[in-house]
Amino acid sequence: MTRSTRDRWLGYAGRLLVALILLFVLLPTVVVVISSFSSTSVLFFPPKGWSLRWFERAVSYDDFRSGFYSGLIVTAWASTLAVVIGTTLAIVIHRYTFRFKAVLEGILLSPLFIPHFTIGLGLLMLVAQLNLGRGYALVIFCHVVLVLPFVLRSLYVSLQNLGQRVEMAAASLGASPLRVVWTITVPLMLPGLFGGWLFAAILSFNEFTASLFITTQRTQTLPVAMYNYVREFADPTLAALSVIYIVITATLLTLANRFLGLGRILNVDAPR
Protein backbone atom coordinates (compact mmCIF):
# COMPACT_ATOMS: atom_id res chain seq x y z
CA MET A 1 0.00 0.00 0.00
CA THR A 2 1.40 3.41 -0.84
CA ARG A 3 1.69 5.94 1.88
CA SER A 4 -1.08 8.21 0.59
CA THR A 5 -3.64 5.38 0.48
CA ARG A 6 -2.65 4.33 3.98
CA ASP A 7 -3.12 7.88 5.22
CA ARG A 8 -6.49 8.08 3.52
CA TRP A 9 -7.60 4.88 5.26
CA LEU A 10 -6.32 6.22 8.57
CA GLY A 11 -8.39 9.32 7.92
CA TYR A 12 -11.55 7.24 7.30
CA ALA A 13 -10.85 5.15 10.42
CA GLY A 14 -10.43 8.33 12.44
CA ARG A 15 -13.73 9.71 11.19
CA LEU A 16 -15.50 6.45 11.98
CA LEU A 17 -14.00 6.46 15.47
CA VAL A 18 -15.20 10.03 16.13
CA ALA A 19 -18.68 9.12 14.85
CA LEU A 20 -18.84 6.08 17.17
CA ILE A 21 -17.74 8.12 20.18
CA LEU A 22 -20.35 10.77 19.42
CA LEU A 23 -22.91 7.96 19.20
CA PHE A 24 -21.86 6.76 22.67
CA VAL A 25 -22.24 10.30 24.05
CA LEU A 26 -25.65 10.71 22.40
CA LEU A 27 -27.03 7.24 23.22
CA PRO A 28 -28.48 7.92 26.71
CA THR A 29 -30.09 11.15 25.51
CA VAL A 30 -31.78 9.41 22.59
CA VAL A 31 -33.00 6.60 24.84
CA VAL A 32 -34.40 9.10 27.37
CA VAL A 33 -36.28 10.95 24.64
CA ILE A 34 -37.83 7.70 23.34
CA SER A 35 -38.81 6.57 26.86
CA SER A 36 -40.42 9.87 27.75
CA PHE A 37 -43.11 9.34 25.09
CA SER A 38 -43.85 5.76 26.15
CA SER A 39 -47.45 5.04 27.14
CA THR A 40 -46.71 2.29 29.67
CA SER A 41 -45.36 2.93 33.15
CA VAL A 42 -43.01 -0.05 32.89
CA LEU A 43 -40.44 0.63 30.20
CA PHE A 44 -40.05 -1.62 27.17
CA PHE A 45 -37.99 -1.15 24.04
CA PRO A 46 -39.42 -0.36 21.65
CA PRO A 47 -42.30 1.20 23.67
CA LYS A 48 -45.71 -0.43 23.18
CA GLY A 49 -47.50 2.87 22.60
CA TRP A 50 -47.03 6.60 22.74
CA SER A 51 -48.38 9.32 25.05
CA LEU A 52 -47.64 12.67 26.64
CA ARG A 53 -48.88 11.74 30.11
CA TRP A 54 -45.37 11.69 31.69
CA PHE A 55 -44.79 15.27 30.60
CA GLU A 56 -48.06 16.28 32.29
CA ARG A 57 -47.04 14.45 35.45
CA ALA A 58 -43.51 15.94 35.39
CA VAL A 59 -44.74 19.53 35.36
CA SER A 60 -47.55 18.94 37.86
CA TYR A 61 -45.73 16.75 40.42
CA ASP A 62 -45.57 18.75 43.66
CA ASP A 63 -42.01 17.87 44.68
CA PHE A 64 -40.67 18.89 41.26
CA ARG A 65 -42.55 22.20 41.37
CA SER A 66 -41.33 23.09 44.85
CA GLY A 67 -37.85 21.80 44.01
CA PHE A 68 -37.79 24.05 40.97
CA TYR A 69 -38.73 27.13 43.03
CA SER A 70 -36.29 26.31 45.86
CA GLY A 71 -33.63 25.77 43.24
CA LEU A 72 -34.33 29.16 41.69
CA ILE A 73 -34.12 30.91 45.07
CA VAL A 74 -30.86 29.17 45.97
CA THR A 75 -29.34 29.65 42.51
CA ALA A 76 -30.23 33.35 42.25
CA TRP A 77 -28.78 34.15 45.68
CA ALA A 78 -25.76 31.87 45.49
CA SER A 79 -24.57 32.91 42.03
CA THR A 80 -25.09 36.63 42.74
CA LEU A 81 -23.31 36.44 46.10
CA ALA A 82 -20.48 34.40 44.57
CA VAL A 83 -19.99 37.02 41.85
CA VAL A 84 -19.95 39.87 44.40
CA ILE A 85 -17.51 38.04 46.70
CA GLY A 86 -15.44 36.89 43.73
CA THR A 87 -15.24 40.32 42.10
CA THR A 88 -14.17 42.19 45.22
CA LEU A 89 -11.59 39.52 46.02
CA ALA A 90 -10.29 39.26 42.45
CA ILE A 91 -9.79 43.03 42.19
CA VAL A 92 -7.86 43.17 45.48
CA ILE A 93 -5.81 40.05 44.69
CA HIS A 94 -5.00 41.33 41.23
CA ARG A 95 -3.78 44.74 42.41
CA TYR A 96 -2.40 44.39 45.92
CA THR A 97 -0.35 42.04 48.05
CA PHE A 98 -1.31 41.44 51.64
CA ARG A 99 -0.53 38.97 54.38
CA PHE A 100 -2.13 35.53 54.09
CA LYS A 101 -3.09 36.23 50.47
CA ALA A 102 -2.04 32.74 49.38
CA VAL A 103 -3.82 31.16 52.36
CA LEU A 104 -7.09 32.96 51.62
CA GLU A 105 -6.93 32.09 47.94
CA GLY A 106 -5.99 28.48 48.72
CA ILE A 107 -8.95 28.00 51.07
CA LEU A 108 -11.43 29.50 48.61
CA LEU A 109 -10.13 27.36 45.71
CA SER A 110 -10.02 24.16 47.81
CA PRO A 111 -13.62 23.06 46.96
CA LEU A 112 -12.18 22.15 43.54
CA PHE A 113 -10.67 19.03 45.07
CA ILE A 114 -12.60 18.56 48.35
CA PRO A 115 -15.39 16.10 47.50
CA HIS A 116 -18.85 17.68 47.64
CA PHE A 117 -20.06 15.09 50.13
CA THR A 118 -17.33 16.15 52.56
CA ILE A 119 -18.36 19.80 52.35
CA GLY A 120 -22.03 18.86 52.74
CA LEU A 121 -21.27 16.63 55.72
CA GLY A 122 -19.14 19.34 57.37
CA LEU A 123 -21.83 22.01 57.04
CA LEU A 124 -24.50 19.58 58.25
CA MET A 125 -22.52 18.70 61.38
CA LEU A 126 -21.66 22.36 61.96
CA VAL A 127 -25.29 23.50 62.06
CA ALA A 128 -26.19 20.44 64.16
CA GLN A 129 -23.54 21.34 66.69
CA LEU A 130 -24.58 25.00 66.83
CA ASN A 131 -28.25 23.98 67.06
CA LEU A 132 -29.08 26.06 63.99
CA GLY A 133 -31.86 24.99 61.65
CA ARG A 134 -31.28 23.79 58.14
CA GLY A 135 -32.74 26.70 56.19
CA TYR A 136 -32.11 28.41 52.89
CA ALA A 137 -29.13 30.33 54.32
CA LEU A 138 -27.20 27.08 54.78
CA VAL A 139 -27.90 25.83 51.25
CA ILE A 140 -27.03 29.22 49.75
CA PHE A 141 -23.76 29.44 51.70
CA CYS A 142 -22.85 25.92 50.60
CA HIS A 143 -23.49 26.72 46.94
CA VAL A 144 -21.49 29.98 47.19
CA VAL A 145 -18.51 27.99 48.48
CA LEU A 146 -18.86 25.39 45.71
CA VAL A 147 -19.19 27.77 42.74
CA LEU A 148 -16.74 30.46 43.92
CA PRO A 149 -13.61 28.76 42.47
CA PHE A 150 -15.18 28.74 38.99
CA VAL A 151 -16.29 32.38 39.31
CA LEU A 152 -12.80 33.41 40.48
CA ARG A 153 -11.20 31.66 37.51
CA SER A 154 -13.31 33.44 34.91
CA LEU A 155 -12.82 36.79 36.70
CA TYR A 156 -9.03 36.39 36.78
CA VAL A 157 -9.07 35.83 33.04
CA SER A 158 -11.11 38.96 32.37
CA LEU A 159 -8.94 41.04 34.75
CA GLN A 160 -5.81 39.85 32.98
CA ASN A 161 -7.22 40.83 29.60
CA LEU A 162 -8.20 44.24 30.93
CA GLY A 163 -4.86 45.99 30.85
CA GLN A 164 -4.08 48.64 33.41
CA ARG A 165 -3.70 51.61 31.10
CA VAL A 166 -7.21 53.03 31.37
CA GLU A 167 -7.11 52.61 35.12
CA MET A 168 -3.77 54.38 35.34
CA ALA A 169 -5.08 57.20 33.15
CA ALA A 170 -8.06 57.67 35.48
CA ALA A 171 -5.82 57.59 38.55
CA SER A 172 -3.38 60.10 37.05
CA LEU A 173 -6.30 62.45 36.41
CA GLY A 174 -7.01 62.40 40.13
CA ALA A 175 -9.64 59.69 40.62
CA SER A 176 -9.47 57.95 43.99
CA PRO A 177 -8.67 54.21 43.89
CA LEU A 178 -12.25 53.29 44.84
CA ARG A 179 -13.63 55.58 42.12
CA VAL A 180 -11.31 53.95 39.58
CA VAL A 181 -12.69 50.53 40.59
CA TRP A 182 -16.32 51.64 40.29
CA THR A 183 -16.09 53.71 37.13
CA ILE A 184 -13.38 51.87 35.17
CA THR A 185 -12.60 48.36 36.41
CA VAL A 186 -16.08 47.02 37.13
CA PRO A 187 -17.74 48.34 33.93
CA LEU A 188 -14.87 46.93 31.84
CA MET A 189 -15.22 43.58 33.59
CA LEU A 190 -18.96 43.31 32.89
CA PRO A 191 -18.76 40.61 30.18
CA GLY A 192 -16.57 38.50 32.48
CA LEU A 193 -18.93 39.17 35.38
CA PHE A 194 -21.91 38.03 33.34
CA GLY A 195 -20.08 34.94 32.10
CA GLY A 196 -19.04 34.06 35.65
CA TRP A 197 -22.58 34.58 36.92
CA LEU A 198 -24.09 32.36 34.23
CA PHE A 199 -21.54 29.63 34.88
CA ALA A 200 -22.18 29.83 38.64
CA ALA A 201 -25.96 29.74 38.11
CA ILE A 202 -25.79 26.61 35.93
CA LEU A 203 -23.50 24.83 38.39
CA SER A 204 -25.60 25.80 41.39
CA PHE A 205 -28.93 24.82 39.79
CA ASN A 206 -27.51 21.36 39.00
CA GLU A 207 -25.55 20.78 42.23
CA PHE A 208 -26.67 17.55 43.81
CA THR A 209 -24.37 15.74 46.25
CA ALA A 210 -23.75 18.49 48.81
CA SER A 211 -27.39 19.59 48.53
CA LEU A 212 -28.55 16.07 49.37
CA PHE A 213 -26.77 16.31 52.72
CA ILE A 214 -27.99 19.75 53.78
CA THR A 215 -31.46 20.27 52.32
CA THR A 216 -34.73 19.41 54.05
CA GLN A 217 -38.13 18.62 52.56
CA ARG A 218 -38.76 22.39 52.48
CA THR A 219 -35.48 23.51 50.90
CA GLN A 220 -34.78 20.55 48.58
CA THR A 221 -33.60 21.63 45.14
CA LEU A 222 -34.72 20.05 41.85
CA PRO A 223 -31.84 17.53 41.51
CA VAL A 224 -32.53 16.27 45.06
CA ALA A 225 -36.25 15.94 44.31
CA MET A 226 -35.38 14.04 41.14
CA TYR A 227 -33.03 11.71 43.01
CA ASN A 228 -35.72 10.94 45.58
CA TYR A 229 -38.16 10.24 42.75
CA VAL A 230 -35.87 7.69 41.04
CA ARG A 231 -35.49 5.84 44.31
CA GLU A 232 -39.26 5.56 44.76
CA PHE A 233 -40.74 5.23 41.27
CA ALA A 234 -39.60 3.57 38.07
CA ASP A 235 -42.05 5.23 35.66
CA PRO A 236 -40.85 7.52 32.82
CA THR A 237 -41.82 10.81 34.58
CA LEU A 238 -38.15 11.51 35.12
CA ALA A 239 -37.45 10.78 31.46
CA ALA A 240 -39.97 13.49 30.54
CA LEU A 241 -38.41 15.94 33.02
CA SER A 242 -34.95 15.07 31.64
CA VAL A 243 -36.17 15.84 28.12
CA ILE A 244 -37.40 19.27 29.25
CA TYR A 245 -34.00 19.82 30.89
CA ILE A 246 -32.10 18.69 27.78
CA VAL A 247 -34.17 20.81 25.39
CA ILE A 248 -33.73 23.98 27.48
CA THR A 249 -29.98 23.41 27.95
CA ALA A 250 -29.33 22.54 24.30
CA THR A 251 -31.33 25.58 23.16
CA LEU A 252 -29.36 27.90 25.45
CA LEU A 253 -26.07 26.42 24.27
CA THR A 254 -27.01 26.57 20.59
CA LEU A 255 -28.00 30.21 21.00
CA ALA A 256 -24.77 30.93 22.87
CA ASN A 257 -22.87 29.22 20.08
CA ARG A 258 -24.67 31.15 17.35
CA PHE A 259 -24.40 34.60 18.91
CA LEU A 260 -21.32 34.47 21.08
CA GLY A 261 -19.25 31.61 19.66
CA LEU A 262 -19.07 28.84 22.24
CA GLY A 263 -15.57 27.93 21.11
CA ARG A 264 -14.39 31.39 22.08
CA ILE A 265 -16.11 31.36 25.47
CA LEU A 266 -14.78 27.89 26.29
CA ASN A 267 -11.34 28.75 24.91
CA VAL A 268 -11.02 25.77 22.56
CA ASP A 269 -10.59 27.58 19.24
CA ALA A 270 -7.21 27.01 17.66
CA PRO A 271 -5.15 30.11 16.96
CA ARG A 272 -5.26 30.67 13.24
Binding site: L22, F45, Y96, F98, P115, T118, F208, D269
Partner: protein
Amino acid sequence: MTRKPAFVGWFLLPAILTALGLTIAMLTVLQYSVRAYIPGSLDVGGFTLDNFQDLLKGLYARAFLNTVWLSFKTALFGLLLSYPLAYTLVRTRTAWLKSCILIIAITPLFLGEVVRTYSWIIVLGNSGFLNSLLLAIGLIDKPLQLMFTDTGVVLALVHVTMPIMVLMLATGLSHIDIAYEKAATSLGASPFRAFLTITLPLSLPGIVASVTTAFAWTFSAFATPQLIGGGRVSTVATLVYQLGFSSLNFPFAAALSIAGLAMTVVLLAALKRMTRPLQNVGIH
Protein backbone atom coordinates in the same frame (compact mmCIF):
# COMPACT_ATOMS: atom_id res chain seq x y z
CA MET B 1 4.37 49.01 46.90
CA THR B 2 1.91 51.86 47.23
CA ARG B 3 -0.10 52.32 50.41
CA LYS B 4 -3.28 50.31 50.34
CA PRO B 5 -6.47 52.37 50.11
CA ALA B 6 -9.09 51.88 52.82
CA PHE B 7 -11.54 50.00 50.61
CA VAL B 8 -9.19 47.02 50.35
CA GLY B 9 -10.21 45.81 53.81
CA TRP B 10 -13.91 46.10 52.97
CA PHE B 11 -13.40 44.32 49.67
CA LEU B 12 -11.67 41.45 51.44
CA LEU B 13 -14.27 41.05 54.18
CA PRO B 14 -16.85 38.90 52.29
CA ALA B 15 -14.15 36.56 51.01
CA ILE B 16 -12.62 36.22 54.47
CA LEU B 17 -16.01 35.41 56.02
CA THR B 18 -16.67 32.76 53.34
CA ALA B 19 -13.24 31.20 53.85
CA LEU B 20 -13.82 31.24 57.61
CA GLY B 21 -17.15 29.43 57.26
CA LEU B 22 -15.62 26.76 55.05
CA THR B 23 -12.63 26.31 57.38
CA ILE B 24 -14.87 25.92 60.43
CA ALA B 25 -17.01 23.35 58.58
CA MET B 26 -13.91 21.33 57.67
CA LEU B 27 -12.60 21.59 61.25
CA THR B 28 -15.97 20.27 62.42
CA VAL B 29 -15.46 17.18 60.25
CA LEU B 30 -12.02 16.75 61.79
CA GLN B 31 -13.40 17.22 65.29
CA TYR B 32 -16.24 14.70 64.78
CA SER B 33 -13.81 12.16 63.39
CA VAL B 34 -12.04 11.83 66.74
CA ARG B 35 -15.21 11.57 68.87
CA ALA B 36 -16.87 8.41 70.10
CA TYR B 37 -20.16 7.30 68.53
CA ILE B 38 -23.13 6.89 70.89
CA PRO B 39 -25.54 4.47 69.16
CA GLY B 40 -29.01 5.89 68.72
CA SER B 41 -28.00 9.42 69.59
CA LEU B 42 -26.90 12.41 67.58
CA ASP B 43 -24.66 13.59 70.44
CA VAL B 44 -21.09 12.42 70.43
CA GLY B 45 -18.93 11.06 73.23
CA GLY B 46 -15.36 11.75 74.30
CA PHE B 47 -12.20 11.88 72.24
CA THR B 48 -10.99 8.62 70.70
CA LEU B 49 -9.03 7.29 67.75
CA ASP B 50 -11.22 4.18 67.36
CA ASN B 51 -12.89 5.53 64.22
CA PHE B 52 -9.62 5.55 62.35
CA GLN B 53 -8.80 2.07 63.59
CA ASP B 54 -12.16 0.83 62.29
CA LEU B 55 -11.25 2.16 58.84
CA LEU B 56 -8.83 -0.75 58.48
CA LYS B 57 -11.68 -3.29 58.66
CA GLY B 58 -12.28 -5.28 55.46
CA LEU B 59 -15.49 -3.60 54.33
CA TYR B 60 -14.11 -0.07 54.49
CA ALA B 61 -10.64 -0.88 53.19
CA ARG B 62 -12.33 -2.61 50.24
CA ALA B 63 -14.52 0.41 49.56
CA PHE B 64 -11.40 2.56 49.49
CA LEU B 65 -9.57 0.34 47.04
CA ASN B 66 -12.71 -0.04 44.96
CA THR B 67 -13.10 3.75 44.72
CA VAL B 68 -9.50 4.20 43.60
CA TRP B 69 -9.86 1.38 41.04
CA LEU B 70 -13.14 2.86 39.69
CA SER B 71 -11.53 6.30 39.43
CA PHE B 72 -8.54 4.85 37.61
CA LYS B 73 -10.68 2.99 35.07
CA THR B 74 -12.91 6.00 34.54
CA ALA B 75 -9.96 8.32 33.94
CA LEU B 76 -8.30 5.86 31.53
CA PHE B 77 -11.36 5.06 29.39
CA GLY B 78 -12.50 8.67 29.59
CA LEU B 79 -9.16 9.78 28.17
CA LEU B 80 -9.25 7.20 25.35
CA LEU B 81 -12.72 8.37 24.29
CA SER B 82 -12.24 12.10 24.89
CA TYR B 83 -8.94 12.63 23.09
CA PRO B 84 -10.19 11.89 19.53
CA LEU B 85 -13.17 14.19 20.10
CA ALA B 86 -11.01 17.00 21.46
CA TYR B 87 -8.51 16.61 18.63
CA THR B 88 -11.20 16.71 15.94
CA LEU B 89 -12.90 19.64 17.68
CA VAL B 90 -9.74 21.74 17.61
CA ARG B 91 -8.32 20.67 14.23
CA THR B 92 -11.35 20.25 11.97
CA ARG B 93 -11.99 22.94 9.37
CA THR B 94 -15.59 21.89 8.86
CA ALA B 95 -17.73 24.40 10.75
CA TRP B 96 -20.78 22.17 11.16
CA LEU B 97 -18.68 19.30 12.54
CA LYS B 98 -17.12 21.65 15.05
CA SER B 99 -20.51 22.94 16.26
CA CYS B 100 -21.84 19.39 16.25
CA ILE B 101 -19.06 18.10 18.51
CA LEU B 102 -19.27 21.14 20.77
CA ILE B 103 -23.03 20.83 21.32
CA ILE B 104 -23.09 17.03 21.64
CA ALA B 105 -20.00 16.73 23.81
CA ILE B 106 -20.54 19.77 26.00
CA THR B 107 -24.32 19.76 26.60
CA PRO B 108 -24.13 16.87 29.11
CA LEU B 109 -21.80 19.03 31.22
CA PHE B 110 -24.75 21.26 32.03
CA LEU B 111 -27.24 18.49 32.76
CA GLY B 112 -26.14 17.42 36.22
CA GLU B 113 -25.35 14.01 37.65
CA VAL B 114 -28.91 12.88 38.36
CA VAL B 115 -30.31 13.34 34.83
CA ARG B 116 -27.31 11.65 33.28
CA THR B 117 -27.33 8.75 35.73
CA TYR B 118 -31.05 8.23 35.23
CA SER B 119 -30.61 7.99 31.47
CA TRP B 120 -28.00 5.27 31.97
CA ILE B 121 -30.40 3.33 34.18
CA ILE B 122 -32.83 3.09 31.24
CA VAL B 123 -30.02 2.12 28.89
CA LEU B 124 -28.47 -0.56 31.12
CA GLY B 125 -31.49 -2.13 32.87
CA ASN B 126 -32.48 -5.77 32.29
CA SER B 127 -35.39 -4.70 30.10
CA GLY B 128 -33.49 -1.56 29.13
CA PHE B 129 -32.43 -0.33 25.74
CA LEU B 130 -29.13 -2.17 25.39
CA ASN B 131 -30.44 -5.58 26.46
CA SER B 132 -33.59 -5.24 24.32
CA LEU B 133 -31.44 -4.37 21.33
CA LEU B 134 -28.99 -7.22 21.83
CA LEU B 135 -31.82 -9.73 22.44
CA ALA B 136 -33.70 -8.51 19.36
CA ILE B 137 -30.75 -8.97 17.04
CA GLY B 138 -29.97 -12.32 18.64
CA LEU B 139 -26.50 -11.58 20.00
CA ILE B 140 -27.49 -12.81 23.49
CA ASP B 141 -30.28 -15.08 24.72
CA LYS B 142 -30.64 -13.73 28.23
CA PRO B 143 -30.22 -10.14 29.45
CA LEU B 144 -26.72 -9.07 30.45
CA GLN B 145 -26.47 -7.99 34.06
CA LEU B 146 -25.17 -4.42 33.75
CA MET B 147 -27.07 -2.63 36.50
CA PHE B 148 -25.54 -3.08 39.98
CA THR B 149 -22.13 -3.96 38.51
CA ASP B 150 -18.77 -2.20 38.35
CA THR B 151 -18.95 -2.24 34.54
CA GLY B 152 -22.23 -0.34 34.52
CA VAL B 153 -20.93 2.20 37.04
CA VAL B 154 -17.73 2.77 35.02
CA LEU B 155 -19.70 3.17 31.77
CA ALA B 156 -21.89 5.85 33.31
CA LEU B 157 -18.98 7.55 35.09
CA VAL B 158 -16.99 7.75 31.84
CA HIS B 159 -19.99 9.40 30.25
CA VAL B 160 -20.34 11.82 33.17
CA THR B 161 -16.68 12.89 33.12
CA MET B 162 -16.22 13.01 29.33
CA PRO B 163 -17.47 16.59 28.69
CA ILE B 164 -15.03 18.16 31.15
CA MET B 165 -12.20 15.98 29.81
CA VAL B 166 -12.96 16.98 26.21
CA LEU B 167 -12.99 20.64 27.27
CA MET B 168 -9.68 20.48 29.11
CA LEU B 169 -7.97 18.45 26.37
CA ALA B 170 -9.29 20.81 23.70
CA THR B 171 -8.03 23.84 25.63
CA GLY B 172 -4.59 22.25 25.82
CA LEU B 173 -4.61 21.26 22.13
CA SER B 174 -5.76 24.69 20.98
CA HIS B 175 -2.57 26.22 22.37
CA ILE B 176 -0.35 24.03 20.19
CA ASP B 177 0.72 25.84 17.05
CA ILE B 178 -0.28 23.84 13.98
CA ALA B 179 2.99 25.01 12.36
CA TYR B 180 4.93 22.27 14.21
CA GLU B 181 2.83 19.55 12.62
CA LYS B 182 3.11 21.20 9.22
CA ALA B 183 6.87 21.42 9.58
CA ALA B 184 7.04 17.71 10.40
CA THR B 185 4.86 16.67 7.46
CA SER B 186 6.72 18.95 5.05
CA LEU B 187 9.92 17.20 6.12
CA GLY B 188 8.37 13.88 5.11
CA ALA B 189 6.68 12.55 8.26
CA SER B 190 3.27 10.97 7.74
CA PRO B 191 0.38 12.80 9.46
CA PHE B 192 0.13 9.85 11.86
CA ARG B 193 3.81 10.06 12.76
CA ALA B 194 3.59 13.84 13.10
CA PHE B 195 0.75 13.32 15.55
CA LEU B 196 2.61 10.70 17.59
CA THR B 197 5.92 12.56 17.80
CA ILE B 198 4.77 16.19 17.88
CA THR B 199 1.17 16.78 18.90
CA LEU B 200 0.72 14.01 21.45
CA PRO B 201 3.78 14.95 23.57
CA LEU B 202 2.87 18.64 23.35
CA SER B 203 -0.64 17.92 24.62
CA LEU B 204 0.59 16.16 27.79
CA PRO B 205 -0.22 19.09 30.10
CA GLY B 206 -3.85 18.94 28.94
CA ILE B 207 -3.87 15.16 29.41
CA VAL B 208 -2.57 15.47 32.96
CA ALA B 209 -5.10 18.20 33.81
CA SER B 210 -8.03 16.22 32.41
CA VAL B 211 -7.03 12.93 34.04
CA THR B 212 -6.58 14.67 37.39
CA THR B 213 -10.02 16.24 37.12
CA ALA B 214 -11.65 12.97 36.06
CA PHE B 215 -10.05 11.25 39.03
CA ALA B 216 -11.28 13.87 41.50
CA TRP B 217 -14.78 13.90 40.00
CA THR B 218 -15.13 10.13 40.12
CA PHE B 219 -13.87 10.03 43.68
CA SER B 220 -16.59 12.43 44.80
CA ALA B 221 -19.36 11.11 42.53
CA PHE B 222 -22.33 9.96 44.55
CA ALA B 223 -25.50 9.64 42.45
CA THR B 224 -23.90 7.38 39.82
CA PRO B 225 -22.42 4.68 42.09
CA GLN B 226 -25.43 4.88 44.40
CA LEU B 227 -28.15 4.52 41.75
CA ILE B 228 -26.39 2.32 39.19
CA GLY B 229 -24.47 0.37 41.82
CA GLY B 230 -27.71 -0.01 43.79
CA GLY B 231 -25.88 -0.65 47.07
CA ARG B 232 -23.79 -3.43 45.54
CA VAL B 233 -20.94 -1.12 44.50
CA SER B 234 -19.52 0.55 47.61
CA THR B 235 -17.49 3.71 47.26
CA VAL B 236 -16.28 6.18 49.87
CA ALA B 237 -19.08 8.59 48.88
CA THR B 238 -21.91 6.06 49.19
CA LEU B 239 -20.55 4.74 52.50
CA VAL B 240 -20.31 8.22 54.02
CA TYR B 241 -23.94 8.84 53.07
CA GLN B 242 -25.14 5.50 54.48
CA LEU B 243 -23.19 5.99 57.71
CA GLY B 244 -24.53 9.50 58.15
CA PHE B 245 -28.16 9.02 57.20
CA SER B 246 -28.94 5.33 57.84
CA SER B 247 -26.83 4.60 60.93
CA LEU B 248 -26.54 8.24 62.10
CA ASN B 249 -22.92 7.38 62.89
CA PHE B 250 -21.57 10.83 62.15
CA PRO B 251 -18.19 10.37 63.86
CA PHE B 252 -17.35 7.43 61.64
CA ALA B 253 -18.71 9.16 58.53
CA ALA B 254 -16.41 12.06 59.40
CA ALA B 255 -13.39 9.78 59.84
CA LEU B 256 -14.10 8.16 56.47
CA SER B 257 -14.37 11.61 54.82
CA ILE B 258 -11.08 12.73 56.34
CA ALA B 259 -9.34 9.57 55.15
CA GLY B 260 -10.85 10.04 51.69
CA LEU B 261 -9.71 13.65 51.57
CA ALA B 262 -6.21 12.70 52.68
CA MET B 263 -6.06 10.05 49.98
CA THR B 264 -7.26 12.47 47.28
CA VAL B 265 -4.59 14.98 48.26
CA VAL B 266 -1.85 12.34 48.28
CA LEU B 267 -2.91 10.86 44.94
CA LEU B 268 -3.22 14.23 43.22
CA ALA B 269 0.13 15.36 44.59
CA ALA B 270 1.74 12.10 43.42
CA LEU B 271 0.20 12.45 39.97
CA LYS B 272 1.48 16.00 39.72
CA ARG B 273 4.94 14.99 40.85
CA MET B 274 5.16 12.02 38.51
CA THR B 275 4.22 14.14 35.54
CA ARG B 276 6.23 17.24 36.39
CA PRO B 277 9.05 16.46 33.93
CA LEU B 278 6.39 16.13 31.24
CA GLN B 279 4.72 19.43 31.97
CA ASN B 280 7.57 21.51 30.64
CA VAL B 281 7.50 19.75 27.30
CA GLY B 282 5.07 22.14 25.68
CA ILE B 283 6.71 25.28 27.02
CA HIS B 284 9.24 26.94 24.82
